[in-house]
């Protein structure tokens, strides 16, 4: 049997095209267009309205499985205006009509790519498609999860299938132990810095190497999340013991370990010496503009955002609190901390992190995508600059076309909030 990457193994197990079961030569190969059975379909308050419209156009009455279609209102929620409220209402009506088991609205809703794994809906070996580019986050648990558009998701909701091109796989080998203040964000920014923003287009990233056993699940979610920022279709980690334990605590379903075969073929291998990585930032206006924060000239900031599907998990908030404890946010900076889910919010309250944020002069909100895409809760004026733990620093992403976003992990974002300019954590914490 030929050795396969994790992406190939999962897609082969879900391939619906007719092929001779015994003919090894008929296996799937990178570049093949195949039809794939999906285990979970996801959409949000921006993308679901189009998906629902197309679903109705398809002429199907019912979704293929009311337990497998997940709608999460997270982008413009709690709704910022009448138009966004109308969009969320479309999800609500559809969920009711279709008797969807998983519709999450204000109070239960978190950012979809935080909520999904937290609820135990992500299992290793699954195929997950979502009408949101950061659906790849779920790859951290060994699922093949990928972002698509609304029409793809409509078809998946109706038929339980989508068309896919089998991706080539780029292996990302991470070796060495991270220094203090280095998190998943720094590792993925280092990876994107090497690959470039389209270095992984049409490809799956598979993370491996001796460093990954030291990585928390939260760090892995951050890394898989930004696979798309290198153009990647998916960002996969092997489902190791830590992943199985995480999933096992959250679902009654049987979970299996999934990993690539030894000797699988990769389109390319990227090697990252984790021990050499310093706290990083990505300067405007592309995520590939990666620099060590120490090497960047003093750069004043107006706003610091700590949250999002990239860095809105408990570990991220703990890191931010470690830096903000006993400190004050710089008088010229607004610091906005946004938990990724109600559970993260609850844990942050229980651990006293919220008090730390409020004492430091930061704002703490309910879960939402909010400012990441310039939606609400922290939109930038012209001439302003934010340091943000989000995933995109495209021109105008967070507001005015004349504003700037610098991407960083929570340690650098919190340190910068205190310093009033881009700062290394050691500049504000002993």
């Amino acid at each position: 049997m030929s050795a396969r990457t994790l992406a190939e193994k999962i897609l082969l197990a879900h391939c619906r095209n007719e092929r001779p079961a015994t003919d090894e030569a008929a296996t799937i190969r990178p570049g093949d267009l195949i039809e794939v059975a999906v285990d979970l379909v996801l959409a949000n308050d921006i993308t679901a309205p189009i998906a629902i419209r197309e679903f109705c156009e398809l002429g199907g009455d019912r979704v293929f499985d009311p337990e497998a279609v997940v709608l999460i209102a997270d982008h413009f929620t709690p709704n910022k205006d009448i138009a966004s409220a109308e969009q969320a209402a479309i999800l609500r009506r559809f969920a009711r009509e279709q008797k969807l088991l998983h519709h999450y609205d204000v109070g239960q809703a978190g950012i979809e790519h935080v909520l999904l794994h937290e609820l135990g809906l992500v299992v290793p070996g699954a195929v997950i498609v979502g009408a949101d580019s950061h659906t790849c986050t779920a790859g951290a648990l060994g699922a093949f999860a990928t972002g698509m558009g609304s029409t793809d998701v409509a078809v998946a909701m109706a038929t339980g299938e989508v068309w896919m091109r089998v991706p080539e796989t780029i292996r990302v080998d991470l070796d060495g132990a991270p220094a203090r203040w280095i998190g998943g964000k720094d590792l993925i920014l280092a990876t994107i810095g090497q690959l470039g923003v389209h270095g992984a287009t049409y490809c799956a990233l598979e993370f491996g190497g001796s460093a990954i056993e030291h990585l928390s699940l939260d760090a892995r979610f951050t890394m898989s999340n930004m696979a798309i920022e290198a153009g990647g279709k998916a960002g996969l980690f092997p489902a190791d013991e830590a992943a199985l334990a995480y999933v096992g605590e959250r679902t009654d379903r049987d979970v299996e370990a999934w990993s690539a075969d030894e000797g699988a073929t990769h389109a390319r291998t990227v090697r990252i010496d984790v021990s050499a990585i310093e706290p990083l930032v990505a300067l405007p206006h592309l995520p590939e503009n990666v620099r060590a924060v120490r090497e960047v000239d003093a750069t004043p900031i107006d706003q610091a955002v700590i949250g999002s599907c990239t860095n809105g998990r408990l570990e991220d908030l703990r890191v931010a609190a470690e830096i903000l404890r006993g400190q004050q946010v710089h008088p010229d900076v607004r610091c906005i901390v946004i938990p990724g889910s109600p559970q993260v919010q609850r844990d942050a309250i229980r651990e006293g992190l919220v008090e730390v944020f409020l004492d430091a002069g930061a704002a703490f909100s309910t879960p939402t995508c909010g400012p990441c895409l310039g939606g609400h809760m922290g939109v930038l004026a012209s001439g302003e600059r934010a340091v943000s733990t989000t995933n995109r620093n495209f021109r105008g992403r967070m507001g005015s076309l004349d504003s700037e976003v610098v991407l960083a992990g929570p340690a650098v974002a919190a340190a910068s909030a205190v310093a009033g300019r881009l700062a290394h954590p050691e500049e504000v914490v002993a």
């Binding site: 189009i50 138009a83 558009g149 299938e161 310039g374």
Partner: protein, 172 residues
């Protein structure tokens, strides 16, 4: 198809094609009114039906918002030619029946306002202003079928109507 071209650079992201603040509707004509606003505020008013967009590498990167190709199509753009496309945008465009073509050689010759002719059937782009012609790789049969059907929704609707889909699920 024949049209005047609009030329943009590398990494035109979907926030530039349609900024998130306009994602409060999925109405194509409304989205068209803000098409390319994050990059070129003059585009939406000046674009004419049949015009084409020509761009560099990685066109359509970033967010999966289908509003981006919807806005481009509703603005009257006949097709997009680029050096390369981001994956999700590529799917979305094909799925909604907006032809998009990767043809770096043709892009090399582009300057704003040229007249181009694109023949999807024969796989040729003609830069009429310069009198140059470029072949491009034809779509694989599956994607041609999607485009011929008018997009993924129409394609799938006929498969559902014929009883081909939905198939029984794995394990059933």
């Amino acid at each position: 198809m024949n049209g005047r071209i609009w030329v943009y650079g590398d990494h035109v992201d979907t926030d530039a094609i349609i900024p998130a603040r306009y994602l409060l509707t999925s109405e194509p004509t409304e989205l068209a009114r803000h098409c390319m606003e994050g990059l070129d505020a003059s585009f939406a008013d000046a674009v004419r039906p049949g015009d084409m967009i020509v761009a560099g590498e990685n066109f359509g990167c970033g967010s999966s918002r289908e509003h981006a190709p919807i806005a481009i199509r509703a603005a009257g753009v006949a097709c997009v030619v680029a050096r390369s496309f981001a994956r999700i945008f590529y799917r979305n465009a094909i799925n909604i029946g907006l032809p998009i073509i990767a043809c770096p050689d043709a892009v090399e010759t582009a300057t704003a306002g040229q007249e181009w002719e694109v023949d999807l059937g024969s796989g040729r782009i003609r830069n009429r202003t310069l009198g140059m012609e470029f072949p491009f790789e034809p779509f694989p049969p599956f994607m041609s079928a999607l485009l011929d059907a008018g997009g993924l929704t129409a394609f799938t609707r006929s498969r559902i109507a014929s009883g081909e889909l939905p198939r029984r699920r794995l394990g059933e």
